[in-house]
């Protein structure tokens, strides 16, 4: 029975793939196929079909390497897991219908075929979805690391003056990282004034403000001054509307002004040179 199914699937492979592709394209709200170039759709479909039939072909064990490789690819294409699930459903439906049309499945052996089908599709679906979610989690954690590497570095600008530009949303974890980098940086760079630039922070809520205030306090404890710069009009509005009290430390609208003030604090100023 198993053999019969494998043979017929292999025989009608092209037709199965064609029908499956058409059906996937008809799926409502799924535009993944329309975004991709045709040859890529074709190649991926073929790979998918191969993967789908790989575990009924011989020893009926699932080739995990192949699945991992494939899921890595589809995660990169940005296919949703719902879509992948649908693809598996459609594939088994197409195969079933086709086999029925070709009279491989008849009324007598229908029951046995249904059992065969479920023992074929279910483990496959499980392992594909498992591999997919693993891959997805890996991608997310990689991006998280990339974001951490990008964020929160303290840059020495002048002697005794350092700047930390903050870009992106601040959550508790990042706030901790910011605080650590800030303090370590202040001590190692012997900064007297630190400018925290929040131009790139999209939202300042009470939580973010709380973290910033804590960081500023900690900076004061290690012996430097913290200045908040890059306060956009909408941020100023939210800060006041939320009733956050930032009176205790200096704030400036732009990094430029902050820098001037910082130079003033360290008894220096920018002078234009009247050269010829």
């Amino acid at each position: 029975m198993n053999k019969l199914m494998v043979e017929s699937i292999n025989e009608y492979m092209d037709e199965i793939i064609e029908r499956w592709t058409t059906r996937m394209k008809e799926e409502k709200g799924e535009r993944f196929f329309h975004f991709m170039p045709d040859h890529l759709v074709d190649k991926t479909s073929r790979e998918f079909a191969e993967l789908m039939t790989s575990n009924i072909r011989e020893t009926s064990s699932i080739d995990s390497d192949k699945i991992n490789e494939f899921t890595e690819k589809i995660v990169r294409f940005g296919w949703a897991i719902k879509f992948v699930n649908k693809a598996i459903d459609n594939f088994s439906n197409v195969v079933f219908e086709l086999l029925e049309e070709k009279d491989v499945i008849t009324d007598e052996n229908l029951r046995r075929f249904i059992v065969l089908f479920s023992s074929w599709i279910n483990p496959l679906r499980e392992s594909i979805i498992d591999a997919y979610s693993t891959e997805w989690e890996r991608t997310v954690s990689l991006q998280k690391i990339a974001l951490q590497e990008l964020s929160a570095s303290l840059i020495p600008v002048f002697e005794k003056i350092s700047v930390m530009p903050l870009v992106g949303t601040i959550d508790t974890e990042r706030a901790k990282l910011i605080m650590e980098n800030l303090l370590e940086g202040v001590v190692s760079q012997r900064a007297e004034v630190v400018l925290l630039d929040i131009t790139g922070v999209p939202v300042v809520d009470t939580m973010v403000a709380h973290h910033i205030i804590q960081a500023a306090d900690a900076v004061r404890l290690v012996g430097a001054k913290c200045m908040l710069v890059g306060i956009r009009p909408e941020i100023a509005q939210t800060i006041v509307a939320l009733g956050i009290n930032l009176n205790e430390f200096t704030t400036k609208s732009t990094l430029q002004r902050g820098m001037q003030a910082a130079l003033g604090m360290t008894n220096r100023e920018i002078v234009e040179v009247n050269g010829q």
């Binding site: 605080m179 650590e180 303090l183 370590e184 202040v186 001590v187 012997r190 007297e192 804590q214 306090d217 900690a218 900076v219 004061r220 404890l221 290690v222 012996g223 430097a224």
Partner: protein, 120 residues
């Protein structure tokens, strides 16, 4: 014999360098010693250097805060220098903000600040 924290006098300033983690007893002893010394010498400023300390508990932090307030009452200015990042984070997390205290990166900066403050 308990160890005591040495308090040095330099012109009008007392310099204290805390070299090891304080236990509660030593902290209290230090508080008394410092206040007595201030009374004897009528110093105008105190610098407390915490550079070697990388851990502080809430009791020690409280004692430090108290010492600062007390010296303030006796008319002297206090600068704390060399607070390590880890200590700063602990203090902030404990809610100890040392609001009315001057801080500096190291002893040198601290003395500078104090001198400027005393001149003003």
């Amino acid at each position: 014999m308990k160890t005591r924290i040495p308090i040095l006098k330099l012109n009008e300033v007392l310099i204290v360098s805390i070299q090891w983690e304080l236990d509660d007893q030593t902290a209290i002893q230090f508080q008394e010693d410092l206040l007595n010394k201030m009374h004897e010498t009528s110093a105008l400023g105190v610098v407390i250097d915490l550079t070697p300390i990388d851990f502080i508990d809430s009791f020690i932090a409280k004692v430090l805060g108290d010492v600062i307030n007390m010296t303030g009452l006796m008319g002297a200015k206090v600068v704390i220098t060399g607070i390590q990042p880890a200590v700063a984070i602990t203090l902030i997390e404990l809610g100890i903000r040392l609001n009315n205290v001057m801080t500096a990166l190291d002893l040198e900066n601290g003395l500078d600040k104090l001198t400027k403050e005393l001149e003003a």
